[in-house]
């Protein structure tokens, strides 16, 4: 099942890239992410140690996809190109590192209602913060 959702996600992503349909592209990524969620739900067991690598791969795919979907790309100076590629590589590396750290922290935690409540609050707070920042995004 996870494989089916993953294939559908990849197909949707490929379709969005080929048709340069920027609205559809994130849904493709979301489907790919969902396939991983389904895989994890069905897996039942220890924490998946490959999660940071999956996060880095998904992030890299998202970045590269949005790069290719940029409208009317003008020829870039070499400096711009090099800096951009370096920034992307650094972001992907950082993603893997942060993911590993988060995974270690999550594995070490003993659980409980308090921690779960804190997790919910953190998730809601993170989403709310992004929404708030985006709403005043007239910078």
């Amino acid at each position: 099942m996870a494989g089916g959702v993953g294939v559908a996600g990849c197909a949707l992503t490929a379709f969005a890239l080929l048709t340069r349909w920027r609205t559809v592209f994130p849904f493709g990524l979301a489907l790919v992410g969902t396939s991983y969620a389904v895989y994890l739900a069905l897996r039942n067991g220890a924490v998946d140690a490959r999660a940071p690598a999956v996060a880095a791969a998904l992030f890299a795919a998202a970045e590269l996809g949005f790069w290719s979907l940029e409208r009317t790309p003008s020829p870039s100076e070499t400096t711009v190109l090099v800096r951009r590629v370096a920034a992307l590589a650094a972001s992907v590396l950082l993603t893997a590192l942060v993911g590993s750290l988060l995974l270690v922290l999550a594995t070490g935690a003993t659980g409980g209602v308090g921690l779960e409540a804190a997790g919910v609050a953190a998730a809601v707070l993170a989403v709310a913060l992004i929404a708030r920042l985006a709403s005043r995004a007239s910078v």
């Binding site: 920027r22 609205t23 592209f25 994130p26 990524l29 979301a30 992410g33 969902t34 991983y36 969620a37 994890l40 739900a41 924490v47 998946d48 999660a51 940071p52 999956v54 996060a55 880095a56 998904l58 992030f59 998202a62 949005f66 790069w67 940029e70 009317t72 790309p73 003008s74 020829p75 870039s76 100076e77 400096t79 711009v80 800096r83 951009r84 920034a87 972001s91 950082l94 993603t95 942060v98 993911g99 988060l102 995974l103 999550a106 594995t107 779960e116 997790g119 919910v120 998730a123 993170a126 989403v127 913060l129 992004i130 929404a131 920042l133 985006a134 995004a137 910078v139």
Partner: protein, 420 residues
């Protein structure tokens, strides 16, 4: 805001909520980079402040020439990626340089972009509108701005090579470079006559005087200027892509105007067509600029109004002026006006700008027949001109303007119009 921001926010929210729902920290790990990226990007976002200056190497160029355009960008608040587009008219082509280009401008940076532009076609342009599009380092925000820093640029039609100009049948009263029919002060020998009191001694022809036993005087032709009117038929044109019969017509007009003005002649310019424009004949370098500027404004305006030569102000066509008509012979009104002009006694020469190279190949039997009839009709028009004593020079791809004018000169040497 780019679609990336809502997409990353959405993916982060989805991942974090899914992590809670299925109680798997791995999903939080997958969602966290998107949340962090969007959050940091939003915190660091700012509006760039970039100013620009545009400098052109010159204000006037010749068709086919190149000139340099410099765009100087200065950033008070820079951006990670700045797309710069110098808007150019179709007639200006970038020969060197990249347009548009994407570059980086840090805070306080100053960058100079140099574009080498080639003027592919004549015209009056305004160059210098710049479009800027900036992207932040995270690619979450795009800012666009247009800076209108346009400068005028005039691309004059290139000159044709002409060795000899057409000599006018009649000259005017002012001094110039044409040998007049009238006798007066000059260099060109005209005749001999008997000495009369008041004649200058230096005009005595001593050899003739010794032979005849009395004083004889050399007479000379005066050197005068002439009035030349360049009449541009702008009723119709033949066009194929960027090429038009108007282009060689304007090149010829520019060349002839420059050459006649150099000969101290008075030169006038009339655009006779849908829109009537005229410049009274006068001399000097300023007149050349006036003519060239008037030429740049010339365009073919479709009109069905019947115009005759009576609509042209009288002072524009001085008596005894040499009128050189530049026409593709595509409109009956131009043909009628030229015959009318000749009927009024003007010294008229027609330079036909051949549209044949601009025509598509005729298709089918009917097409070939129509093409043949059209060519026969043009021959008939030329015949009518020749019967009226108007020399017609055909200037096309196979001949140069110099050759066409030589043809007219030869015609005028052997077939002088009776009324002239």
């Amino acid at each position: 805001m780019t679609p990336k921001l809502p997409a990353y926010a959405g993916l982060a929210a989805l991942g974090l909520l899914a992590a809670l729902a299925v109680r798997r920290p791995e999903l939080a790990v997958v969602a966290a980079p998107f949340a962090l990226y969007a959050g940091i990007g939003l915190l660091l976002a700012r509006r760039p402040r970039i100013d620009a200056e545009v400098e052109l190497e010159g204000e006037r160029v010749l068709e086919g020439d190149e000139l340099e355009a410099r765009v100087t960008l200065s950033a008070e608040i820079g951006a990670e990626r700045v797309e710069v587009l110098l808007q150019l008219p179709r007639e200006l082509v970038v020969a060197e340089g990249v347009n548009p280009v994407q570059l980086r401008l840090a805070d306080g940076d100053r960058r100079e972009l140099t574009f080498r532009l080639r003027c592919a076609r004549w015209g009056a342009f305004r160059v210098g509108r710049i479009f800027l599009r900036t992207h932040d380092a995270f690619g979450l925000f795009v800012h666009e701005a247009t800076l209108d820093l346009r400068r005028p640029l005039k691309a004059y039609p290139s000159e044709e090579h002409v060795r000899n100009l057409l000599k006018p049948l009649e000259t005017q009263v002012f001094a110039g470079n044409h040998v007049a029919r009238q006798k007066g002060e000059g260099i060109e020998f005209a005749d001999l006559r008997r000495f009369v009191p008041g004649d200058r001694i230096r005009h005595v022809n001593w050899r003739a005087s010794a032979r005849r036993g009395e004083l004889w005087i050399n007479e000379h032709h005066a050197e005068r200027n002439a009035d030349v009117v360049l009449l541009l038929d702008s009723f119709a044109e033949a066009r194929r892509g960027d090429s038009s019969t108007l282009d060689p017509a304007l090149r010829a007009a520019g060349t002839l105007a420059a050459r006649y003005l150099r000969e101290k002649d008075r030169v006038g310019f009339v655009t006779f067509g849908g829109i009537l424009n005229w410049l009274l004949p006068t001399t000097g370098a300023v007149q050349l600029y006036r003519i060239v500027d008037a030429m740049l404004d010339t365009q073919i305006v479709l009109s069905f109004a019947w115009r005759d030569i009576g609509t042209v102000p009288r002072r524009t066509l001085p008596p005894q002026a040499l009128v050189i008509a530049l026409t593709p012979l595509l409109d009956d009104r131009a043909e009628a006006a030229l015959l009318d002009l000749r009927g009024r006694g003007f010294d008229l020469v027609v330079v036909e700008i051949s549209p044949l190279s601009l025509l598509p190949e005729p298709r089918g039997e009917a097409g070939r027949l129509a093409d043949r009839l059209w060519r026969l009709r043009r021959d008939a028009v030329r015949g009518r001109f020749e019967r009226a004593g108007i020399p017609v020079a055909v200037w096309g791809d196979e001949t140069s303007l110099a050759a066409a004018l030589e043809e007219v000169s030869a015609y005028r040497r052997h077939a002088r119009p009776l009324s002239a």
